[in-house]
């Protein structure tokens, strides 16, 4: 396991900071609204979207249930077609393999197209130790690399940066006159990177899907940088998580219908490269060598339970991020992990250790919007609840919270004794009156509010509904149970009276 950023332990602080950043919040609102609309429109172009999701999930389930077999088939076919396959148990091993390839081939200019897996294992840092700096060629990743930052979204890594910030960055690093014109900025990046493409001796890419039947790897993109990265240099290294394999060539159709629509609302991204081994004949175009690095890094462990196994179905579309009310407010950096948002909240603890990311499963209101938009129907709320139970049980070195555990034990004891509960609420109402908490829907007074942190947390910005002077069960005993006309139905004005 590679150590994650320490900031995944402090979601609460990160979130507070993010909420104070009005520019970030505006950018997030704009982006998530836009992606949401586009996704909805694109989904509307498919007659049976639900059927497609079910089919995709079935393919993933089938694959994961026989992952070893499908991986072996994939490797056999890929090697027959000329690829060399390397297996890496963890990120360190993957970095070491890739660094070895780069060193052995004397690579000096290395270009890289987008790969979340490479960020997961801090590949760039590992290569930097050998004085090899891979150049990120995806525009968003390039911007992040120039700025020395980490991505804040799976699909649009620089979503948190304004045109002005990018203009200043390019002016500083590329020496161009500052301009907020997007076409100009894009052209500047294109020119700068074209030189690198022309010189590159090694290209590193990710893999969206690996087909067992043919040994094909598929890479989706819009910019053309992945095509350049995987065709110009003599050597191509493709980093692939073991969960990326799918059984048949025809299965690609299902995922290509789902991924672009879910992620960006496109019917298809501008380019898909389906690479099967190396060039067939000497005069053909393309790299001399293709190395596929198959990486585990904690993924095989997720197979151990059906609830966690579904994490591996993820196709990294980013739809859950855009739909999540929490992500929409705080963005990706608050999660302190290369994988943010709903899917990040469940795979980060599993990849990097529950103790290092124990807040993340709680950083959700369990609304289920993520599950609704997931193209492979991952039940993220189920996963979050599963992980919360692990944290509550003090698993994997997570800090048990004795006070919290005690209060829930007490709560359960109380809830199994209705008479005790009734007594406790009577006591609570007396305390309320003593503390001057009114019967109106209003702020409890300062003393009451400071009595317990959860109360303060609520009352800082919301009014708190007090305990009612008479509970429902008391009203029932007094007469609601009898004739129907005894119960006064709340009128529009009567309801106001009851409240005030």
């Amino acid at each position: 396991m590679t150590a994650p950023a320490q900031t995944s332990r402090t979601f609460d602080r990160n979130a507070r900071r993010a909420l104070e950043d009005t520019q970030l919040r505006g950018a997030l609102r704009h982006a998530t609204d836009l992606f949401g609309e586009r996704r909805r429109a694109a989904v509307g172009t498919v007659t049976d979207w639900e059927g497609l999701r079910t089919q995709a999930r079935a393919i993933k389930d089938e694959t994961l249930s026989r992952l070893d077999t499908y991986l072996e088939e994939f490797v056999a076919r890929a090697e027959e077609a000329g690829a060399r396959v390397h297996w890496a148990r963890d990120g360190q091993e993957a970095c070491s393999v890739i660094a070895g390839i780069a060193r052995d081939r004397g690579a000096r200019t290395v270009v890289k197209s987008k790969s979340m897996a490479s960020e997961e294992i801090h590949l760039n840092a590992a290569l930097a130790e050998l004085d090899i700096e891979p150049i990120e060629t995806d525009l968003g990743e390039y911007i992040i690399q120039l700025a020395g930052e980490t991505p804040s979204h799976i699909v649009v890594p620089a979503i948190h940066k304004t045109k002005r910030q990018i203009a200043e960055l390019f002016a500083e690093k590329l020496g161009i006159p500052p301009s907020e014109d997007v076409a100009t900025l894009t052209e500047a990046a294109r020119t700068a990177l074209r030189r690198r493409f022309a010189q590159a001796d090694l290209g590193i890419s990710g893999v969206n899907f690996g087909v067992a039947e043919t040994g094909t790897i598929l890479i989706l993109e819009n910019e053309g940088n992945a095509r350049l990265t995987t065709s110009l240099p003599r050597v191509h290294v493709a980093l692939m998580g073991i969960e990326k394999v799918i059984p048949r060539f025809e299965d690609l159709d299902v995922f290509l219908k789902l991924l672009p629509r879910s992620g960006t609302g496109q019917l298809l991204t501008a380019y898909q490269s389906l690479i099967t081994g190396t060039r067939r004949a000497e005069g053909d175009e393309g790299p001399d060598e293709l190395h596929i690095v198959l990486m585990d890094n904690g993924r095989s462990r997720m197979l151990a339970h059906p609830t966690t196994r579904q994490s591996l179905a993820c196709i990294r579309c980013g739809a859950c991020l855009n739909a999540c009310p929490v992500y929409q407010q705080v963005g990706g950096h608050a999660y302190g992990s290369v994988y943010p948002g709903p899917i990040g909240a469940v795979i980060s603890p599993q990849l990097f250790g529950l103790d290092s990311a124990s807040q993340l499963p709680y950083a959700s209101s369990l609304c289920g919007a993520c599950r609704e938009v997931c193209p492979v129907k991952i039940d993220i709320p189920e996963l979050l609840l599963h992980l919360r139970s692990k944290v509550a049980e003090g698993e994997s070195g997570t800090e048990a919270k004795p006070l919290e555990r005690l209060s829930f034990t007490a709560y359960a004891a109380l809830m199994q004794r209705p008479r005790l509960l009734a007594w406790a609420t009577r006591a609570g109402r007396m305390a309320q009156r003593a503390l001057g908490v009114g019967e109106r829907l209003g702020k409890p007074n300062a003393v009451a509010a400071r009595l317990a942190p959860p109360m303060t947390a609520w009352t800082a910005e919301r009014d708190l509904r007090p305990l009612s002077p008479r509970s429902f069960r008391e009203l029932w005993r007094e007469g609601v149970r009898d004739a129907p006309d005894r119960a006064e139905p709340p009128r529009a004005t009567a309801a106001k009276d009851a409240e005030g």
């Binding site: 950018a27 836009l34 429109a41 509307g44 172009t45 070893d68 991986l71 077609a81 390397h86 890496a88 148990r89 091993e93 995806d138 525009l139 649009v156 890594p157 620089a158 997007v182 076409a183 894009t186 052209e187 990046a189 294109r190 074209r194 022309a198 043919t214 819009n222 910019e223 053309g224 940088n225 095509r227 350049l228 065709s231 060539f249 025809e250 159709d253 019917l267 298809l268 501008a270 380019y271 490269s273 389906l274 099967t276 081994g277 190396t278 060039r279 067939r280 053909d284 175009e285 393309g286 198959l294 585990d296 095989s300 462990r301 197979l303 151990a304 339970h305 059906p306 609830t307 289920g368």
Partner: protein, 263 residues
């Protein structure tokens, strides 16, 4: 070898974990899925302020017309050329419009004389068998496409049929010739077509590239920019034999409806 050890270790970890999961799998399979509101079949009442999803404008049914519609929606241009004379003229028009000085062509036999004629008339230098270094300096790359996909306006390029990997990628402008009878309805169909051919060709090409419009990005403040690392312009010339057929005449007429015709 380290990789063999890693392989054994990973495969055995997979098997071990799947076995550990087995007793839970049965119970888990019985869990009920949340019901989907849209599947309950109860219509919503009409409400003030409820927004309606804009219905997609009806797409043409005929594959060629649908291909055109989808291609243009992603900022590609479409031209229909019947016969070599029209083809050459179409290429020439594109060369002139893009202000090209230097063009490169792939080794596709379909390009034949039409490409050379067009370049000669337009005064554009034409390279054949250009190296990547030379292609970096070309303004236009001309190639064929092996298949088209109507539902998405996509071109399918197979590396074993043609050497067009760089010619379709490096120059700022890509001109792609596509035979009308190679337009499939769906992506699935196109993928199947790439698997067919000679008995020995069950292995796909070294690379199959699907191209849907010119290169693009929205990485800067979600503002669309066309033309990033790949071509900035994509011009598709769909070719047909010189004898025009009624079907394709209707297809091109669909763009400019005849007011006298009954809809």
């Amino acid at each position: 070898m380290a990789t063999d050890e890693a392989r054994r270790s990973i495969l055995s970890a997979i098997r071990r974990n799947l076995a550990e999961s087995a007793p839970h799998d049965v119970v888990h399979a019985q869990r009920h899925e949340p019901p989907n509101p849209s599947q309950r079949g109860i219509p919503l009442p009409v409400l003030t302020g409820a927004s309606e999803t804009a219905a997609e404008p009806a797409l043409p049914r005929e594959p060629l017309a649908r291909f055109r519609s989808r291609l243009e929606a992603v900022a590609g241009t479409f031209t229909l050329a019947r016969g070599d004379v029209e083809l050459s003229a179409a290429i020439e028009r594109i060369l002139a419009a893009t202000g090209a000085r230097r063009a490169a062509a792939s080794d596709s036999p379909g390009l034949g004389g039409a490409g050379q004629d067009a370049c000669a008339r337009a005064g554009v230098e034409l390279l054949v068998d250009a190296s990547p270094a030379e292609l970096f300096d070309c303004d236009v790359g001309i190639s064929a496409a092996q298949w088209g996909i109507a539902e998405t306006g996509t071109l399918v390029l197979e590396s074993r049929r043609e050497r067009h990997r760089f010619v379709s990628l490096l120059p700022r402008v890509h001109v792609a010739l596509l035979s009308a009878d190679r337009i499939c309805e769906t992506l699935g169909e196109a993928l199947r077509n790439t698997r067919e051919g000679a008995a020995s060709e069950t292995v796909p090409s070294a690379v199959i590239t699907l191209v849907t419009g010119p290169s693009r990005t929205s990485d800067i403040e979600l503002t669309l920019a066309i033309g990033v690392h790949g071509p900035q312009e994509l011009h598709v010339i769909v070719t047909e034999p010189a004898e025009a057929t009624t079907v394709t005449s209707a297809a091109s007429a669909a763009e400019t409806p005849d007011p006298g015709r009954t809809p």
